[in-house]
C-alpha cells in the first residue's frame, strides 16, 4: 500500500512541477546557505584548532596554581625535575602512542632593550623559551588537512641558543627596522628629552649585559637586543639575544612585546646558575580526539606520583578560541532558524495548495476505503519528497561551490592571525553536522506538510466529493 502512496505523491510532485520546483528551490537555498556556512565555520574551527595546536600543543602541564596565578610571576612556578617528569610522561604506555611531540617551554617577562642604536629604546616583553626542532615539528601538525602551515622560525636552531625572534611591533619599537631590513617599518623619530631620561637605565642594562652575557659581543652587530629579567632569587639578570628575524603576531599588544628564544637562553635568564626548570611541559597529540584520554591519564599519573602538577588544554589557555566557536555557533543557529522558517512556510503554502486542488480526489480515495491516516501519509510523503529534492540539490550546489572556492586559491587573514591563509569551505568537514542539516531540512519539510496533511485527512468524505 505504501508503494501506491509513494507513487501518487511522486507523480503529483511531477504533475505540479513548477510549484514543486519553487518549493524545492526554497529548501535548496536553505540547504545551500546552511551547508556553506557550516563549511566556513568548520574551516574556522578546525583552522583555529590547528593554529592553536601547532603553537601551544593540545595539553600543557604546569605546576599547580600556574594557570590562575602564574602569569604574574612565571618564574616562581617552575616545574622541578622537569626532565624526569617528561621521561615519565614519554615512557607511559598509555600516553606514549598518543604523543606526537613532548617538549618543555619556559614563559618569562622582562624588559627588552636596544641600547646599541643611536635611538636607544626599551620595552617590556613577553617571552617564550622553546626547543626550535620541537617547535618545528609542532608547526607541521595538520590533522584536518587544512593546509595551514605557519612559517618555521628562521634563524633558530637547537645548536644556537643565542638567536631568537621578536614580534614585528617589538622590532619596530626597538629600532631594529634598518638592521633587519623590515619593509613598511620607518625609523622612529628622534626624541631627545626621552633620550636623556632613559640614558642611565640603558647604561645599567648595557653594563649588566656586558657582565653576564659574554656571547653578546660575538653576535652580529645591529640585530642584537638585551633582555632583562628578575631571576627566581629576585636578582636582575641580563642576556643578549641575536634577533634572527621577526614574526608578526595577530594582536598588536602581543606583536609589540613578543620574544621567542631558545629554551636554554630563557632558562639562563630566569634561573641563572640555579637549577633550570620550565613553566610548562607541552604535549602535542597525534589526534585531537585523544585529548580527554591523555588528560585523564596525566592527571592520574600526577596523583599517583604526588607531583603537584596540573593539566590545561589549549581551549583553556586561549579563551578566544571558545568565544569564536560560541559566536559562530550562535550565528549558525540564527541562520538555521531563518532558513527553517522559510522552508516551513514555503512547504506549508505548497502543500495547502496541493490539498485544496485535490479535495475531490481525497474524497474519492476516502470513499474507496482509504483510511484517514493514509491520506495524511500521502501528503507527508509529498512534503518529504520536496524536502529531499531540495536538500539534495542544495547539498550538491554547496559541494560544487565549495570545490570552486577551495580551488580558487583565495587567501585571507582571519581575526587573531597575522599571516594570510588559504580560504577553504569544508562542507563535509563535520559530516555528522552536515547530515544533521540535511535530515533537519527534510524533517522541517515533512513537518510543514503535516498541517495541510491533517486538514486533508480530516475532510468529510461527503464534503470532499461535493467539492468542485
Amino acid at each position: 500500500m505504501i508503494g501506491v502512496l509513494v507513487k501518487i505523491a511522486w507523480r503529483n510532485i511531477v504533475r505540479n512541477r513548477r510549484r514543486s520546483l519553487m518549493t524545492a528551490s526554497a529548501v535548496a537555498a536553505g540547504a545551500l546557505a546552511m551547508l556553506l556556512f557550516l563549511g566556513y565555520t568548520t574551516y574556522i574551527f578546525l583552522g583555529m584548532e590547528t593554529g592553536n595546536v601547532q603553537h601551544l600543543g593540545h595539553l600543557r602541564v604546569f605546576r599547580a596554581g600556574y594557570f590562575l596565578y602564574g602569569a604574574g610571576n612565571p618564574t616562581a612556578y617552575g616545574i622541578d625535575g622537569y626532565r624526569e617528569v617528561m621521561r615519565e610522561i614519554g615512557d607511559d604506555p598509555v600516553l606514549k602512542p598518543m604523543i606526537r611531540v613532548l617538549t618543555p617551554a619556559q614563559s618569562l617577562m622582562g624588559i627588552a632593550a636596544n641600547y646599541r642604536s643611536d635611538n636607544a629604546a626599551s620595552r617590556t616583553f613577553f617571552g617564550e623559551g622553546i626547543i626550535p626542532s620541537d617547535r618545528a615539528r609542532m608547526l607541521g601538525w595538520d590533522q584536518y588537512h587544512t593546509g595551514i602551515f605557519h612559517p618555521l622560525d628562521p634563524g633558530m636552531s637547537d645548536a644556537d641558543e643565542s638567536s631568537g625572534l621578536v614580534g614585528t611591533g617589538l622590532a619596530r619599537i626597538l629600532n631594529l627596522c634598518a638592521p633587519l631590513k623590515l619593509p613598511d617599518c620607518p625609523p622612529a623619530p628622534a626624541a631627545a628629552p626621552a633620550e636623556e631620561h632613559r640614558g642611565p637605565v640603558n647604561a645599567d642594562i648595557a653594563e649588566l649585559a656586558g657582565r653576564d652575557a659574554p656571547q653578546a659581543e660575538q653576535a652580529p652587530e645591529g640585530a642584537q637586543i638585551d633582555l632583562l629579567a628578575a631571576t627566581v632569587g629576585g636578582a636582575p639578570n641580563v642576556v643578549s639575544l641575536h634577533v634572527a628575524s621577526t614574526q608578526p603576531q595577530g594582536a598588536k599588544e602581543l606583536d609589540d612585546a613578543y620574544v621567542l628564544m631558545h629554551l636554554g637562553l630563557a632558562q639562563q635568564l630566569v634561573y641563572g646558575r640555579e637549577e633550570h626548570k620550565v613553566t610548562a611541559i607541552v604535549l602535542q597529540l597525534r589526534d585531537s580526539r585523544y585529548m580527554s584520554a591523555a588528560r585523564a591519564r596525566l592527571n592520574a599519573l600526577f596523583r599517583e606520583r604526588h607531583l603537584g602538577l596540573e593539566v590545561r588544554d589549549f581551549g583553556e589557555l586561549v579563551p578566544f578560541y571558545g568565544q569564536v566557536i560560541r559566536l559562530f555557533s550562535s550565528i549558525f543557529l540564527f541562520i538555521a532558524l531563518v532558513m527553517g522558517m522559510i522552508v516551513l512556510f514555503a512547504v506549508v503554502n505548497t502543500m495547502t495548495m496541493n490539498v485544496m486542488e485535490r479535495i475531490n480526489e481525497i474524497g474519492t480515495s476516502r470513499a474507496m476505503g482509504v483510511r484517514r491516516s493514509r491520506i495524511r501519509a500521502q501528503f507527508l510523503i509529498e512534503g518529504t519528497f520536496i524536502g529531499l529534492i531540495g536538500t539534495v540539490v542544495g547539498a550538491a550546489l554547496a559541494i560544487g561551490i565549495a570545490t570552486l572556492v577551495n580551488r580558487s586559491g583565495i587567501t585571507w587573514i582571519p581575526p587573531g592571525n597575522a599571516i594570510p591563509i588559504p580560504l577553504h569551505l569544508d562542507v563535509l568537514g563535520r559530516p555528522l553536522r552536515a547530515a544533521s542539516i540535511c535530515v533537519g531540512l527534510v524533517l522541517v519539510a515533512t513537518a510543514a506538510a503535516l498541517l495541510p496533511a491533517n486538514r486533508a485527512a480530516r475532510l468529510s468524505v461527503v464534503d470532499a466529493l461535493r467539492h468542485i
Binding site: M1, G3, T364, R372
Partner: protein, 236 residues
C-alpha cells in the same frame, strides 16, 4: 466479498433521518425513511434535485452517518464501526461510480483499477489477473496504460466501473453515472453495467434522472422531500 444470503437484504434502512445545519437553518435531507434492497438487483433511486437521492446513497455507501435511525449494509450495522473500520468496510464491500468519474489523475487506467485491490491487501499476482480481466471486460485492455486525461468521457466512466467492480463488492453505488455522457455513450455504459451486474451478481444502486437508466431498473425507489414516495419492482 462474501456473497450475501440470497434472501436477506443487502441494504436495510430503518426510520432514517438526516439533517444538516445550514447556518441557522436546519435542513432535513431524509425524513424517517425506511427501505430494504434485496441482493443481486439493479436498483434505481429517482427524485427531483434536492429530494435526498444523493444523501440516501451517501448513507448506504457509509460515507455519511444518519442523524437518526439504523443503516445496515451487507448485514452490518454501520453505527457499530469506528472510522477506520468503516473505511475498511467500504474498501471490501462497496464500489463507487461517480458522475464526474473521479479517477486518480496521476494513475494510469490500469493503476486506477488496481487501486482498490491494493486497499484490501490482495497479492500482486491475483491483482494483476483481476485488473487485466476487468479492463478486458470493459473493453479497455488496449488503453490500460493511458492516463485519465488521455481517455474520452465514456472511457473514463468504463475505468470507473472497472474500478468499482474489480474487488467484486457486494454493492455498487452510482450517482448519476451517465449525467456527463452523451446519450449514445450513456446507453453503452448502462448496457455495460447491466452486463457486468448480471455476470457478477452484484447489487447496483443508482441515483439518477436518466430515463434510459430507469428503463433497465429491477427496482425503483422514488423519493420526495426526503421521504420514500414509491417503491416499484420491474414487472410489478
Amino acid at each position: 466479498m462474501t456473497q450475501p444470503a440470497a434472501t436477506s437484504p443487502v441494504v436495510r434502512l430503518a426510520h432514517v433521518s438526516r439533517t444538516y445545519q445550514s447556518g441557522a437553518l436546519e435542513v432535513r435531507a431524509l425524513d424517517d425513511l425506511s427501505l430494504e434492497i434485496p441482493p443481486d438487483r439493479f436498483s434505481v433511486v429517482i427524485g427531483a434535485s434536492g429530494s435526498g437521492k444523493t444523501t440516501l446513497l451517501n448513507l448506504i455507501g457509509c460515507i455519511d452517518a444518519p442523524s437518526k435511525g439504523v443503516v445496515d449494509v451487507c448485514r452490518q450495522n454501520i453505527a457499530e464501526l469506528d472510522d477506520d473500520a468503516v473505511a475498511d468496510f467500504r474498501a471490501r464491500n462497496i464500489g463507487f461510480i461517480f458522475q464526474t468519474f473521479s479517477l486518480i489523475p496521476v494513475l494510469s487506467a490500469y493503476e486506477n483499477v488496481e487501486y482498490p485491490l491494493l486497499l484490501v491487501g490482495m497479492p500482486a499476482a491475483e491483482r494483476r489477473r483481476r485488473t487485466t480481466a476487468m479492463l478486458e471486460a470493459v473493453g479497455l485492455a488496449a488503453q490500460a496504460q493511458r492516463q485519465p486525461n488521455e481517455l474520452s468521457g465514456g472511457q473514463k466512466q468504463r475505468v470507473a466501473i472497472a474500478r468499482a467492480l474489480v474487488k467484486q463488492p457486494q454493492l455498487v453505488l452510482a450517482d448519476e453515472p451517465t449525467a456527463n455522457l452523451d446519450s449514445a455513450t450513456g446507453a453503452a455504459i448502462i448496457a455495460l453495467m447491466r452486463r457486468v451486474q448480471a455476470d457478477s451478481h452484484t447489487t447496483f444502486i443508482f441515483a439518477t434522472h436518466d430515463p434510459q437508466l430507469m428503463s433497465h431498473a429491477d427496482e425503483i425507489f422514488a423519493i420526495r422531500d426526503g421521504a420514500l414516495l414509491e417503491h416499484r419492482r420491474s414487472g410489478a
